[in-house]
């Protein structure tokens, strides 16, 4: 689904000179649009929503765990209170028990307390069943009951046969038994408390750990969210800024899918593609406008140049009419031949211009540089001659062929030559030199050298700007170099300038030789 950008911009017709006109361009943009829209939608908004939902769910989970933990702590505290109460009652009972053995007080109070302890234990035992465990519960109950039974037994003896209370052996025996049992239940109750304190501390610590851990997890989740969202937006923004740069440089390839889903940025991409279409159309119009202007300039030269063969024809015709009878057959034939030759010459003078002016669809062809430059120079010849300037062409032998739109390239070279003519003074020369480009392999350089007034240093950076011109009002549109640069950029090349005020300028057009211009279809 996501297609590589190059797959769309590759020439779709590998045969000789594949024609890519305005309809093709619209087709390509339509294709890009379909590809962009064919993907599943995954909005940035959706991602933000999902991220927030995840964070919320996580917070909810943490809260539940914490609430459970607090509940557990509360239970532990309650149990501790219960164990405490139990201990107090048992201790109280034992105090009365001690009094009994010392002063023979009655055991009612002791029994009351121990019954209270029993009641406390029984009422709470059920609710703390999970904390206490069944066997322990039974043990405690048995111990309490054992102690209570002994006390009750003693009370029985006190009530029925108080004399027995003074039987030292019997009493000593029962006292030690009771003490034993009493100590056991105290130990048991205190043991319960102690164990519970440890448990409570552990639960509190666990709760703290859960707090900390959930904070860390939350932080990690938030960081991951921020990273994913940030990367998603930043990546797209970076890509769009690179699109803007390449569009500004004149590369009008439409934006094609790069991801497996579409979102809000897809709408932006579609809008930019529409803009590219408009820009491409406008540029085509601009190139055409500039070409018409160049044709206008050339026409003046052609019109003047035509006067020479016309004059020859006129003189010859008139002399034929005047001298017809006096001329020999041979002389007449020679004069008629002159007329025919001069007519052919006139045809050639117009023909070049007509070829250049003819509006043709952008055609990518293998071009022989020498022929292209020779044709261009012939086109500009009248202008050059009119200005009293000489033009020289030097082409390195067996220069590799280039691919491109011959007419557009001719427009560029013509523009450079006419600029050079404007910059030159009468009697100077212009050199057009084609050679391999020394700084990059598989590139050729075409230099247009003039020895004219040069370009002032402070304007050299703006000479490729649209509407920038140093010519007088009405003499230049300021579009030539801007349009030329656009054309050369589409051929995968560049125009370099090297100028010194007062001694001339060198414009160098660098063009790739073997590779197909990547984005040529956007003409």
């Amino acid at each position: 689904m996501a297609r590589d950008a190059t797959s769309l911009s590759e020439p779709r017709d590998g045969q000789n000179g594949n024609i890519q006109n305005i309809y093709d361009r619209m087709e390509i943009i339509g294709e890009a649009r379909r590809a962009l829209l064919a993907r599943k939608r995954f909005n940035v908004k959706t991602q933000i929503f999902i991220a927030n939902a995840i964070v919320f769910a996580l917070a909810l989970g943490v809260a539940a765990v914490l609430i459970a933990s607090i509940y557990r702590i509360q239970r532990r505290i309650e149990f501790l209170e219960f164990a405490n109460e139990l201990t107090i009652e048992i201790q109280q009972a034992r105090r009365y028990e001690k009094n009994f053995f010392l002063y023979r007080t009655n055991l009612d109070d002791a029994l009351e307390n121990i019954h209270a302890a029993q009641e406390v234990f029984i009422t709470n035992a059920e609710s703390f069943a999970s904390l206490l465990g069944y066997s322990q519960q039974q043990t405690v109950l048995r111990q309490l009951e054992g102690y209570t039974d002994r006390l009750e037994e003693l009370q029985e003896i006190q009530r029925k046969s108080p004399s027995k209370l003074f039987d030292a052996v019997f009493m000593g025996n029962i006292e030690s038994q009771l003490r034993e049992k009493g100590k056991d239940i105290i130990t048991m109750a205190q043991g319960l408390m102690g164990k519970e304190k440890v448990e409570l501390t552990r639960t509190l610590q666990r709760s703290i750990a859960i707090h900390m851990l959930s904070l860390v997890v939350l932080l990690v989740v938030l960081i991951i969210n921020a990273y994913l969202l940030g990367t998603r937006i930043a990546t797209v923004l970076t890509r769009f800024s690179s699109y803007a740069q390449r569009i500004a440089a004149g590369d009008f390839t439409p934006i094609t899918p790069r991801r497996h889903y579409r979102d809000e940025f897809t709408e932006l991409a579609l809008a930019i593609n529409e803009m590219i279409k408009e820009l491409a159309n406008r540029e085509a119009a601009l190139i055409q406008t500039h070409k018409m202007r160049a044709i206008g300039t050339l026409t003046a030269g052609v019109a003047h140049e035509l006067n020479n063969p016309m004059n020859n024809i006129m003189l010859t015709a008139h002399m034929l009419m005047e001298e017809n009878a006096a001329l020999s057959e041979e002389e007449r034939m020679s004069m008629l031949k002159d007329v025919a030759d001069e007519t052919t010459r006139a045809k050639h003078i117009i023909g070049n211009l007509l070829d250049f002016a003819r509006e043709s669809a952008a055609t990518i062809q293998t071009l022989e540089l020498e022929k292209l430059l020779r044709d261009t120079i012939r086109l500009a010849e009248n202008q050059v001659r009119m200005s009293g300037i000489k033009i020289e062409l030097q082409v390195t032998q067996s220069l590799p062929a280039i691919h491109g739109d011959g007419q557009k390239l001719q427009q560029v070279f013509l523009n450079l030559i006419l600029n050079a003519v404007d910059a030159s003074t009468k009697g100077s020369k212009i050199q057009v030199i084609a050679l391999p480009y020394e700084k990059a392999p598989d590139h050729v350089a075409i230099k247009v050298v003039d020895y004219g007034h040069g370009i002032p240093r402070h304007v050299i950076s703006s000479i490729f700007d649209p509407f920038f011109t140093t010519k007088a009002k009405g003499h230049g549109t300021g579009l030539g170099l801007s349009v030329s640069q656009g054309i050369i950029a589409k051929h995968g090349g560049k125009i370099l300038v090297n100028s010194e005020e007062g001694s001339g300028s060198i414009f160098t057009v660098v063009l790739p030789v073997t590779t197909f211009p990547k984005t040529i279809h956007t003409f």
Binding site: N307, N311, N312, L315, H318, M319, E322, G388
Partner: protein
């Protein structure tokens, strides 16, 4: 005054000289034809012509320079400029520099003959214009 008017004709288009030489001979002019301005200038320095007819746009030297040299060498010589690049500015420049007249290409042989007759008159000579169309 000798019967023939001495004329130097300079144009880098060979056909111009080829056709105009007999055309002017017919009205009693003695014409020397040149295609190379350098050679023509050398000849001008040797001999004072009555009339010099020169093209303006030529490769080695243009007609304006020829005009200046003629004016310098022989002030009495009438210079007639012919050019395919007929522009007001050029014509004005030629006249200011002392050209006798200015003819735009394309022209008929008679157009030049008329100008030459005018120049001859200015020189105090006479041209037998009627001879031109004798054969018709």
């Amino acid at each position: 005054m000798s019967a023939s008017l001495e004329i130097l004709l300079l144009d880098d288009e060979p056909i111009v000289g080829k056709r105009l030489k007999p055309a002017l001979a017919k009205i009693g002019c003695e014409v020397e034809v040149f295609q190379d301005p350098i050679a023509a200038v050398a000849r001008i320095k040797q001999k004072s012509f009555d009339i010099v007819v020169t093209d303006i746009r030529m490769d080695e030297m243009d007609g304006m320079q020829v005009l200046e040299i003629v004016r310098e060498q022989s002030p009495r010589t009438k210079v007639i400029m012919i050019t395919g690049y007929a522009m007001i500015a050029l014509a004005r420049e030629a006249m200011e520099k002392g050209a006798f007249d200015f003819i735009a290409k394309p022209f008929k042989p008679d157009d030049l003959r008329k100008v030459i007759a005018k120049a001859a008159e200015a020189l105090g000579s006479k041209v037998d214009f009627s001879a031109a169309n004798d054969n018709n």
